[in-house]
C-alpha cells in the first residue's frame, strides 16, 4: 500500500474520461452529452448505488457503529457551512458567502460514487449505510446557509416575490432540498434494496452492476465537459476563491479523517465519510441557491465546486485520503 494508488487512480479509464472531457473543451470541440442523457446517467448511478447500499445493509444489519458514523456525517454537514461562512465573509458579500458555504457543506453524489468505484477497484469493503449518510448530508448545509444569510441580512423590507410572501421561505427551501430528485431516488432505491429479496436484486445486477463502470466512465466524460465549460468563469475569480476551493475541502477531509481515527471507523466507510465532507455540491445546492438567494453569483459558486473541488477530489483527493487512512487505521 503506497502512493502508487495515486498513479493507478490517475490512469484509470474512468478518470481519464474526465480528462478527455476537459480536453474536448480546451480544443473547443463541439462534443456535448445531451442534457437529458446527462440527467439519465446521473439518475442511473443513484439508482444503482442506492439499491446496492440497501441490499448490503440488509445483510450486515444495524449496529451502534453505524449510528456513530451517521452522527458524524450530520454534525459535519452542519459545521462545515458554519465555519466556511465566516471564512468567506472576509472577502465575499453576504449572499455569495452563504451560497458558497451551503455548497461546500453539502455533498457531491458523483464524487461519492467515484469513491465507491475506487474502493471496489481496490477491493476494499464498505457499509451500504453510507448511502444514507450521503443523503443525510445533502440538506443541512442548505438550511445553515439560508439561516446565516437571513440573520445577517439588513432587515430591509424585501420585495415580495410571487404572490405568497413565504414563496422562497427557508421552510419551503428546506422541504424542497429534502424532496430533491437525487435524494428521493437514492434513498428510495436504498429502501427498495433493503426490502427486496436477494434473488430479485440479483436479477437486476446486469443492469445495476455489470454495466455500471462503463456508465460511470461515460458520465465522467460528461462531467469533464461540464467542468471544462465552467473553468473559464474562474478567470475573473480571486485567488482567494481558488485557494478556498482546494484548502477548505482538504481541511474538511482532515477533520473527517481525525474523527474517523478517534472513533475507529472502518477504512472503507472512513474514506466515504471523508470524501463526503471534502466534496461540494454542484447540482442540488446551486439549484436551491438560484431560487432562494438569487442575488448570489452562480457564476462563482458553481465553477468553484464543479471545476476545482470536484476534479481535485476525484483525481488527487480520493487516493490521498485513502493513503492516509491506510496509514492511521489498522
Amino acid at each position: 500500500m503506497n502512493l502508487e494508488i495515486l498513479l493507478n487512480n490517475f490512469i484509470n479509464p474512468t478518470i481519464l474520461f474526465f480528462f478527455l472531457g476537459l480536453f474536448a473543451v480546451w480544443v473547443r470541440s463541439d462534443l456535448a452529452i445531451p442534457s437529458q442523457v446527462s440527467k439519465f446517467l446521473s439518475y442511473y448511478l443513484l439508482f444503482c448505488i442506492g439499491l446496492k447500499g440497501g441490499a448490503e445493509l440488509s445483510h450486515s444489519g444495524l449496529n451502534a457503529h453505524i449510528f456513530i458514523v451517521l452522527a458524524i456525517a450530520v454534525v459535519m454537514a452542519l459545521l462545515v457551512p458554519l465555519y466556511s461562512f465566516f471564512i468567506l465573509r472576509r472577502r465575499f458579500n453576504l449572499f455569495d458567502s452563504a451560497a458558497i458555504a451551503a455548497t461546500y457543506g453539502s455533498v457531491s453524489a458523483v464524487t461519492f460514487i467515484t469513491a465507491i468505484n475506487f474502493l471496489q477497484e481496490n477491493e476494499a469493503p464498505f457499509g451500504g449505510y453510507m448511502v444514507a449518510a450521503m443523503a443525510l448530508m445533502e440538506a443541512p448545509a442548505i438550511i445553515v446557509g439560508l439561516v446565516l444569510a437571513d440573520m445577517y441580512r439588513q432587515k430591509e423590507a424585501q420585495p415580495p416575490k410571487g404572490e405568497e410572501p413565504g414563496a422562497s421561505s427557508i421552510r419551503m427551501v428546506v422541504r424542497e432540498a429534502m424532496a430533491n430528485g437525487s435524494v428521493v431516488l437514492i434513498m428510495g432505491s436504498f429502501v427498495i434494496g433493503i426490502v427486496s429479496s436477494d434473488s430479485s436484486v440479483a436479477t437486476l445486477a446486469p443492469f445495476t452492476q455489470d454495466i455500471f463502470k462503463g456508465m460511470l466512465a461515460f458520465f465522467l466524460l460528461d462531467m469533464g465537459l461540464l467542468a471544462g465549460r465552467r473553468l473559464s468563469a474562474l478567470r475573473q475569480a480571486s485567488g482567494f476563491a481558488l485557494r478556498f476551493s482546494v484548502l477548505v475541502p482538504m481541511a474538511n477531509a482532515s477533520i473527517a479523517i481525525g474523527l474517523a481515527y478517534l472513533l475507529q471507523v472502518d477504512k472503507g466507510d472512513a474514506l466515504l465519510l471523508t470524501v463526503l465532507c471534502a466534496s461540494a455540491s454542484y447540482i442540488a445546492v446551486p439549484a436551491a441557491m438560484r431560487i432562494s438567494l438569487p442575488k448570489a453569483n452562480a457564476g462563482l459558486y458553481v465553477p468553484m465546486s464543479l471545476a476545482i473541488t470536484f476534479p481535485f477530489n476525484i483525481v488527487l483527493g480520493i487516493p490521498l485520503y485513502y493513503y492516509i487512512l491506510n496509514q492511521i487505521l489498522s
Partner: protein
C-alpha cells in the same frame, strides 16, 4: 379580432413554477411557456449547460386584456426585480375563434 396585451417574459427557469403560481393566483388563465432558453443579461451568461437548471431560462408568452395586465403589472415588476429577467409588453390582435 380583439385587442390584447402580449407579455413576453424571460426568467431563470427555476423561477417558472413561482411565476405560474403568480399568474394563477391573479386570475390569468391563459399562458404558455417553454424552457431551454439560453441568453445573456445583467446576471451574466446563461449557457444552458449543467445537470440542474441553474444556467437556463424559460420564456413565457401571455395574451391578456389590458385590465389583466394592469392588475399584475406591479406584482410582475416585483417578481422580476427579485428573480431577474425581462418582460416585454406589446399590442396584439387575438384571432378569436
Amino acid at each position: 379580432m380583439q385587442a390584447y396585451k402580449k407579455l413576453e417574459i424571460i426568467i431563470p427557469k427555476l423561477e417558472s413554477r413561482l411565476l405560474v403560481k403568480l399568474l394563477q393566483n391573479n386570475g390569468i388563465k391563459g399562458y404558455s411557456y417553454w424552457g431551454g432558453v439560453r441568453g445573456s443579461g445583467d446576471r451574466g451568461l446563461q449557457d444552458g449547460e449543467g445537470l440542474s437548471d441553474t444556467f437556463v431560462n424559460a420564456c413565457f408568452v401571455i395574451a391578456c386584456s389590458e385590465e389583466d395586465f394592469n392588475r399584475i403589472k406591479e406584482k410582475l415588476r416585483a417578481f422580476l426585480s427579485e428573480a431577474g429577467g425581462v418582460c416585454m409588453v406589446s399590442d396584439v390582435n387575438w384571432l378569436i375563434h
